[in-house]
Symmetry: C2
DNA sequence: CTCGTTTTGTTCTCCCGTTCACAAACTCCT
DNA sequence: AGGAGTTTGTGAACGGGAGAACAAAACGAG
């Protein structure tokens, strides 16, 4: 048994971090249904994971359950939100207002989960008059002043692949330290800058691989 | 040394499958630059992975390199494409033509990587006149006939969260066996149906977690 | 107060994936 | 032909995560 560190500074495994948002979403759903208490079994079913895994994940945050009873939905919800850091609001800039940028700007899930889009930037001057999701599309040149003004640390790249690396470089130069990349390119950034990528066609290709396997050898397992 | 199985029927680790599309993209880039041969070191740098990992990944497909020389770009490109299954065309239906559905329908990366969007479906009759990306938006009720006509096995869900499960159920009932889910919900599907999910706000929340950590304890590592 | 029931938190084991390190194999130069 | 230099393919060590299983803790009944 290690020393108790009730406040912070534990190291949570990356796999667990990736699941915490799922648990948070499940807890919000439960709260909306008026459920105030739930067992690890119930919550795990809601989140689509094994209950042992759920308990182990939560144990990294602390001891927030009651044995024999379960978890208080509202309390656990707050604790996870605090751990992730979405009790505060994170300002976000989106660069590249094409089809995908449009969709992201209008996506209500960002706002409702602690993220506020403060600016939409595009290199194409033809788009600069346009108003998307209540925000005027501005020049990419304004990146630095916007980041400084709103203290932005998270940037979203929704540009074509060829532009992505230079946009990332510029973002890093202005002080952004977390990047969500939708462009189908591998970004190279300095140490200390976090990058996550979402590649739409890669996901489809993974599905295609398993699909092809099914038709050849019937007996393939699950995918995810 | 195990028996050679030159044709198919090896089991490729899931982690490797997820990287094959990245290698494929890197090879296409190299081919466009006129490069005909590359070492594992070069290709790995291009794909953003360790060269040892790359070689091990490729070794699951077979021995397609030449020691002392490297890999033939065009040959390896074809082998990976064949292994994934993107030498043929996969018909795809998209359900839910909101902001995100629009963006997906217009995304050129699908077509160029072996996927062909054959239909756009939406439950809202107000959208049924609209033409998006050269396709008329049709009623969700047409799902069954479209799937049958085009022999569709891959479906994309871009609906609001509340509708996603019922859409998935209907897809499965019509014979679709692979689903790419953009709705922020856990889908439950029968065994044998593959599901992959893309959750935009979860990715941001993971970034937020690490971002928060940086400001508290300066010395956090990379993200992924 | 005591016992049985429920459910968490944690330990232990197994498996998958990553990385190192090196032998095998190929090219090129002399 | 032979040796030096490269680069692949893979065996082996290593680390992290998943799941089973159980002890510890809370609650309720009698």
């Amino acid at each position: 048994m290690t020393a108790r560190t009730p406040d912070s500074a534990r190291d949570i495994p990356e796999a667990t971090v990736a699941r915490l948002p799922v648990y948070l979403r499940a807890l919000i759903s439960l709260a909306e249904e008026g459920i105030t208490t739930c067992s690890s079994e119930e919550l795990a079913a809601f989140a689509g994971v094994n209950s042992a895994k759920l308990r182990k994940d939560l144990s990294y945050l602390g001891s927030y359950g009651t044995r024999g009873v379960g978890y208080d939905v509202e309390y656990l919800r707050y604790q996870i939100a605090r751990e992730i850091g979405v009790t505060q609001d994170w300002p976000v800039v989106i660069v590249g207002i094409g089809n995908l940028g449009h969709a992201l700007a209008n996506y209500s899930g960002f706002r409702s989960r602690g993220f506020r889009v403060v600016a939409l930037l595009d290199a194409d001057p033809d788009r600069h008059e346009e108003v998307v999701a209540g925000l005027e599309v501005r020049s990419f040149e304004d990146l630095e002043s916007i980041v400084a003004e709103h203290d932005v640390s998270i940037g979203v790249i929704a540009t074509p692949a060829v532009a992505a690396q230079s946009v990332a470089d510029r973002m890093v130069a202005t002080g952004i330290t977390s990047i969500l990349n939708f462009a189908p390119t591998v970004l190279s950034v300095p140490d200390g800058v976090g990058v996550r990528k979402v590649d739409l066609s890669i996901e489809l290709q993974i599905l295609a691989y398993h699909e092809q396997r099914k038709s050849v050898a019937p007996g393939a397992g699950a995918v995810s």
